[in-house]
Every structure is written in structure tokens, then in C-alpha cells.
Amino acid sequence: MKRITSVLLCATMIFSLAACSGGKTGDKGSTAAPAAAAGTEAGASQTTSPDSIPAHKEELIIGAAAAVNNLDLQKQADQINNICLKLTHQALFRLDEENNRIPCLALSADWIDDTTIEIKLRSDACFSDGTPLTAEDVKFTFDMAIDSPISGNLTGLEGVDVIDDTTVHMQMKSYSNDFLMSLTFIPFGIQSKAAYESGMEKPYLIGSGQYVLEDWVDGEFISFIKSENYWGEDVGISDQITFRPYLEASSRVIALQNGEIDVCIDPPINELQYLEEDKNITVHEQPGTRLFYFGFNCEKEPWNNQTLRQAVACAIDRNSVIQAAVYGKGTPQTTVLNRGLWGFYDDMDGFDYDVDRAKQLMAEAGYPDGGISTTLIIANSSPYTMIAQVIQANLKEIGIQVEIKTLEDATLKSTCVEGQHDLFLWRWNETIRPDCVYRDLFNTGVASNYHHFSDAKVDELTDKVLMDREEAQRQADSKELQTYLVEASPQVPLYIANLVIAYHNDLKMPFFRGGGDHEWYNAYIAK
């Protein structure tokens, strides 16, 4: 009996040890030591008087669909990371509600000749540790960026020269219409040269934004608190902003209903009815920007046959796809460019759902009785599995047998890059640079051109659209390029998913972005 008691005691001790050991071992943010103002120009934080900040709940908790995995700006590319980085860092420019470029850390940018951009910076900006943000930091950031894994977003930039404390010149290889938009990209948020040179452990945590990192427990939450040294007037309102990953969409919704979180990102559409019934919750929907598409490997038989591809384009029932994938909350489209991008043109004839025409095109392509057997690779997650099954059924009607292979994202990407696939489903989200759609998806030899599509005319038109100085000419070229690409059908664009987000009624947020990369630094829960 004694032995049993002692064993049970041991077990209880171990158990309680385990229960208490769920401690925080994540990163601690750099505690911003309030620096003595170095000169009158340094960013002394604006002490906003108590009455100009509206009454608000201290902590804003946002339930996200993925966990933050990397805060080193230039070494990552995930949207969830960028959403957090928008709190702590700032780029030279930012976007307003209509996606127009407006000043942020920079006041202006002008092409003073065909290969040089002159950028004028603010003089009063500073980092969260109180040190001033100058042209040196800008140069440092972009020098680092040119060698970083994400330098693909800065194509053409050759170097940055510091002219004086508030002026830099960016040396470009050639003129580009889209380059200035790249300067709004948060991974190119300005970082502190001094922080890197000081040898501190995570210099990338120092930014000029309204918030600083407070605590990060991988897989559980990441929290940000207001920076004491913010230079601007547009201070953050919520004292603390926390992101909690809920990988399970249903549990995210339930957490919102239980009040555990204030905002639910990407609620599953089939559960919106429960949220709409709830008096405390608002469901917001707006047109999105993410385009889901069905792609061909244009280098592989039989998909190098353009007429065959067009036949398939006619066989796909986009409305069924939208119904199955997002319960109708999406917009079909014919063109390859994301809706909302400059130059978006969707009025070409293209290939609508028409099974008879599809069969006719099949015959023209040399397959009057169908008889093709092929594989479709997709990522292992929700809209793709549904889309794939609809398309599989559609293609069966015209005699094409499709085998669906689900792969993990990583494998999907490498298989596509290596060109071993026949058909694939993927998505592309681009909000500000049309060149990134044309070039990255359709130009010869580009790694992300999973279609392995190669057409000199497309390459040529892409360059023209990037470099045309004259607006009318550029519009015409853009239209021509899109029409040409639709005709060539390296992919069948399916639909743009709507942005859906649900939140507590008292959330105050200036606006949401269709692409999902919202700016949370202005958000708060009103009391």
C-alpha cells in the first residue's frame, strides 16, 4: 500500500511539473530604451494627449490562419509574417485605400533620368530604439536586399547612393513603371544599420513602426506593444496587438464567438451563417485579389498543343468551381491579370463554358474522341481539392481522364519548377505590380513560370508594358498582352476569391485590403 501511494505521489509530481512547464521560451522583443533625443530632429515620440486617443480595449487579439514563422524581413515571403512586420517596420512608401502610392518614410520619388530615381526622405523619422532613421539606413537596407532571397522583387536595382541625410539615388538598370511600387513592399522596410553593426542578436527586430515585438511563443501567439519612440502622429491606438494562430478554421470561428479573439481572419464560408446570426459579430466581405488558376505544363505532350488547351478552357465550368470552392463567394474571370491591378482588362472573348465548342476544339486539335489520360497535381488544402474534383468531372465529359495527385506545398512547387507535371492548380496574389504577373508567370525561363510557357512575343510585350512611358501606349500594350495570353491559354484563370473577414462589432478599422495584407496598426476595439 505504501508503495502504491509513493508511486502515485511520483506520478502526481511529474504530472504537475509537466502542467507547469508550459512556459514561454520564445523571443523577447528588444526593449526600447527611451533614448535621449539626439538633436531636435530626432524622432521624439509624440505624446498624444489622453483625449485624442479614443476609449479602447487594451488588447486587440486577432485569430490568424497561420503561425508567424520568421520576422527577418528579407528572408521570408509569407503573408502572415508581413502582416506583423507592417506593425513594426515601415517602407519608403505605402498604399492608400485605392492602392495609390503615398509617402511614408520617403516624401517623394522621381525618375531624374532613365536610370536614376531620386528619393527624398523624411527628416524626423526614427527607430524604436530612438535612433534617427537616415539615408544611410536606407542604403544599408537596399544593399542587403539586393543580395537577399527576395531580391526578385527589386529587379533592375543596381545600387543606392547616399546624396545627403535625406536624399538617396537609386541606380537602375533601366526604366521600370513598376519599380516604385516595389518600394511599398514591407520586406523592404527600412532597417537600422547601427543595429546590425552593433552585433546584437536579432537586429531585424528594430524598425520604425508604431509597434514593437513584445513576446513570441512559436505556435501559440505573438504580441506587439506600442513603441514609445514612434516618430509620427498616426500612433497606434490599441496598447497591445496579439496574433494567435488557429490552424483549424472551425476553431477560429468558435474562438471569435466565445470572445477569445476579436477578429477572425478567413472564416470558412460554410460557417458564416453562425457568425451572421450572432448579434455581436460583423461579417465583412469585399472583392479580393487572389487569383486561382488551372495551369498546363506547356512543354509536355500533349499540352504543348494550343488548340487542345483551348478545348480544355471551354470545358471548365467556372461557376461550379466557384460554388464548390468558395460557395459562390468569388468572381470568375477570363484574363490572367489579378482584378484591381493596373491595366486589368477582362472583356476579350476568351473561352467560356461551352461543352460543344470544347468538343469541336478537341477534334481540331486532333483528339476527336478524347482518349487522353493525364495527371493533375494540387496542394493538399481546401479550395484545391474541391476545384480539382469539379474539373476532373468537367474534363471527363470531353474524354480526358484526370488522375488527381495531392502533394504538399513544398513538393508541388519543386515538381512544377522541374517541369515533371502535366496539369496543376495554383494561385497568384498580386496587388500592385502587373509586371510581376506577366513576367513571373509567363516569361521564358523564369522559375515561377510553372507553365514552362515560352513565347517571344509575350516576353517582348512584358518588357514594353514595364517600360512604356506613355500612358495610352502602355494601356494598349497591356490589353494586347492579356488578349494574347488568353488566346494562348497557358493557363485557365478560374476565379478571384472574395475577402471575407469576421470581427467583433466594436472593431474600428479604416479599411481592409482585398489581398488580405491589412494594416492593423490603426485598429482598435472601441469601448
Binding site: 508503495r3 508550459g22 521560451t25 532571397p149 505556435g219 476553431s251 506545398d409 513544398a410
Partner: protein
């Protein structure tokens, strides 16, 4: 005794080496290139190549494995390809969650199963026995992720008693622990029952009754004590299973544990994380098994003697 423990620890090493070898090679053979997967969508060929150089992917496999082993000896399990964080650190952050879940599950299971097993053994062949055995059978036959879903439907969505996922306060532990524990409970019940049945029929029980010892003392002092060995074996097995095998419960309840970490890392082809986490799990399982064996010795002096001699 100490020699025995040391010997067991020595035996762990080849097992861990072999496991790491197999996993490392298996992950490597997947044929998909981690660099392509990790690079941003619009990276160029040169950037992907540069990433490959950085990750050391261009060295031949044996060189890479060698480097990995050297690191392992020093206790450095490498850095994750995906999060760039230390593998060991990430594992240790997730481990307490899994330990919590595993221990609670086994605790719950034992709490239900042992009394149930004793009860059904005492009342063998009555309807109480059948009832208990049916419960045990159902527990073993259910896929535990399905049980998790059903529990969510009933207790979380309809009754709203418990949260349906993610780690929060103690109430978020209840449903996942019951999900994992119920399956274990079934197995432990069956083992307890058959162990008790074996013991009840033994002669020394009759002797004890003849001597006039109360029935309760007969069952507990004499019966249960001797039946404990197989019961503890099974509890120990379930514990080491729980530590690594609760992947499904962790998926259904979004519990940030080790099992889920491994499966997600395999999906992302994060070789260092997968290898490191599986190695750590094996170490953990070995430690738990050793602990269970030591508890045997505690209970059975014959085994204790055996261990002391063996060393």
C-alpha cells in the same frame, strides 16, 4: 542496479543512430529539393542555387549526414529550413504541450480503466462484465480522430462546455485528453481484467481468504499488487505511444504538440526538423520505457534482483 541503468542508456545509442540514419536518408530521397520549396515564389535560378549552397545541399549525402552526426554529438540538432530556428529549441518548446496531453490522457485512462478492469474481473461473466468489456472494445475500435470530432460536436458546439481547440487554460486540455485517453483506457481495462483474472485464480488468494482476510484486502493487497506488472507494462506502453502518437488528436484540436510538429515538418520537407524531432521522440520513448522498467523493479523484488545481477 546502477549498472543496469547505464547499460540500458548505452543500448539506446545504436538505436538512435540507426533511426537518425534511416530518417535522414529517407527525407533526402524524397527527390524534391528543399531549396526550391523554401525560396520565395519569384526567386531566380541563381537565388535557388545560392540557397542550396547556404543549406549545404550540394555536398554528397554522406558528407551531409556526417556533418549532421557531428552536430548531434555536440547536442546541436541543426536549424530548421523553414523557420530558421534551432531544432532543439523548437522541439523543447512544443514538448511540454505533448507531455501535458500525454500524461493527462494516460492519467485519465488509468483512472477509468484500472477500477473498471478490477470491477469486471470481480464480476466476471455477469452483465457488468460484458458491459465493461463492450466499453473497452468500443474504445479500441474507434479511430481517435473521429472520437475527437464527435466530442467537439457534443461538448463544444452543442453544450459549449469546453473549447474546441488550441491551447488555453486547463479546460482546453479536457477534450484532447479524453480523446487520446479513451483509446488507452480500453486497452488498459482489458489488460487489468485479464491480469486480475489470472491472479484471482491463484492459490494464494484462496489461502488469504481462508486465513480470514477481508475481501477488500484480498483483492487489493494480494490480488492487485501482483497483477500490477502487466498493468504497468501496458500503461508504460501507452505513455510512450501517447508521447509521439497523438498526432491525430493534436490535428483535430490544433494542439501545438510534438506529433503535429513532425507531421507538418515532413510535409514541408524540413529535414533537420524531422530528423531532430524524431530522434528526440525516440530518446523520450526510451527514457519512458526505462522508467517503466525501473518501476517494475520497485514492485517486484524478483525483477530487481534480476536487474542487479544482469548489470
Amino acid at each position: 542496479m546502477l549498472k543496469y541503468i547505464l547499460k540500458r542508456i548505452m543500448l539506446m545509442i545504436p538505436a538512435i543512430l540507426a533511426t537518425s540514419f534511416i530518417i535522414y536518408f529517407a527525407m533526402d530521397m524524397t527527390g524534391s529539393d528543399p531549396a526550391t520549396a523554401l525560396a520565395p515564389d519569384n526567386a531566380t535560378e541563381e537565388q535557388i542555387e545560392q540557397l542550396r549552397e547556404e543549406l549545404g545541399l550540394n555536398d554528397p549525402i554522406f558528407v551531409r549526414y556526417g556533418k549532421y552526426m557531428m552536430g548531434m554529438m555536440k547536442g546541436d540538432l541543426g536549424t530548421s529550413y523553414v523557420t530558421k530556428r534551432d531544432v532543439f529549441e523548437t522541439f523543447m518548446t512544443r514538448l511540454p504541450n505533448t507531455i501535458q496531453l500525454a500524461f493527462t490522457a494516460v492519467f485519465v485512462a488509468t483512472l477509468i480503466a484500472v477500477p473498471l478492469g478490477i470491477y469486471t474481473a470481480i464480476h466476471q461473466n455477469t452483465w457488468k462484465d460484458t458491459g465493461g468489456m463492450v466499453f473497452a472494445l468500443f474504445g479500441v475500435s474507434m479511430p481517435n480522430f473521429w472520437l475527437g470530432m464527435i466530442l467537439i460536436i457534443i461538448f463544444s458546439l452543442n453544450l459549449k462546455w469546453f473549447p474546441s481547440g488550441a491551447k488555453g487554460g486547463p479546460e482546453s486540455l479536457v477534450l484532447p485528453a479524453v480523446t487520446v485517453g479513451l483509446g488507452f483506457a480500453a486497452l488498459i481495462t482489458r489488460t487489468t481484467r485479464s491480469a486480475m483474472l489470472d491472479v484471482i485464480r491463484q492459490d494464494y488468494m484462496t489461502t488469504a481468504r481462508a486465513k480470514g482476510t477481508g475481501e477488500r484486502d484480498v483483492i487489493f493487497k494480494h490480488g492487485l499488487r501482483n497483477a500490477l506488472i502487466p498493468i504497468i507494462t501496458v500503461i508504460g506502453m501507452q505513455l510512450s505511444n501517447a508521447l509521439t502518437g497523438s498526432v491525430l488528436a493534436e490535428t483535430v484540436f490544433s494542439w501545438p504538440g510534438v506529433g503535429r510538429l513532425i507531421v507538418d515538418s515532413i510535409a514541408k520537407r524540413d529535414t533537420p526538423m524531422v530528423t531532430g524531432a524524431i530522434i528526440m521522440s525516440c530518446v523520450l520513448m526510451c527514457v519512458v520505457n526505462l522508467a517503466v522498467d525501473l518501476i517494475y523493479a520497485f514492485f517486484d523484488p524478483r525483477i530487481k534482483a534480476q536487474y542487479s545481477q544482469k548489470g
